[in-house]
Homo-oligomer: 105 residues x 2
DNA sequence: TCCTTGTCTAGATGGGTGTCGAAACAAGCT
DNA sequence: AGCTTGTTTCGACACCCATCTAGACAAGGA
């Protein structure tokens, strides 16, 4: 973050951070990412929470619209997958280089 | 993100993402990070926005309570500085390794 | 065709939050 | 002391959002 972000860039990036800035959604994301095969259907996810199906569906929609995950229907189930490109993009904003070295000082 | 996050971990991390998941706050963060010397006083920041002083102060408080920035009073002005440790920590959750390689596939 | 299971949409509600103006606090200057 | 400038707290308001229930849509099997 050497160069200040413009108002537009901030709005775009903030949309992603906002999406994952909710405990349930962040946990959903981690469950999908760590699931075998890199995919998980909704039925794999709802069990981990004490929330109704529609609520989980709502959170998945928010993540999808933020570009953090993508879903594909195959037969009865819909499989969700993490979009690594998006995560890498926002992550690189927080820590410019790799991760270890430094910034403005 | 190989291991699914626990509910607790998610809550902690989400607090940070939520703080920077707001356009004004993300922009404030970038302004502070990219400011000469790694520090900026509120007077350096308010000019970049079409918002009242109290609103900027509110956003700075949210960032401070999330551990993303820290402030120190030196004479008349209060200087804010980014806490890189926090940013690195949350960034590493999104993209485990450095940035380039891989995940669950 | 009907039923079952998985998933989403619609509408409602309670709590959270971004924003403001006004007022208070802090520090320095005259 | 009193004034000025920088910054925060307080109280209020409008809007957003997480959650629910009920109902709709999709796909497969009897």
């Amino acid at each position: 973050m050497r160069e200040p972000l413009t108002a537009e860039q901030s709005a775009d990036l903030a949309r992603v951070f906002k999406a994952i800035g909710e405990p349930v959604r962040l946990r959903l994301l981690s469950l999908i990412a760590s699931h075998a095969g890199g995919e998980a259907c909704v039925c794999d996810l709802t069990g981990a929470f004490d929330l109704s199906g529609p609520t989980i569906s709502h959170h998945l929609k928010v993540l999808r619209e933020a570009g953090v995950i993508e879903g594909e229907r195959r037969g009865t189930w819909i499989y969700y997958r993490v979009r690594l490109e998006t995560l890498r993009a926002v992550s690189s904003v927080l820590v410019p280089a790799g991760s270890a070295e430094v910034v403005s000082a």
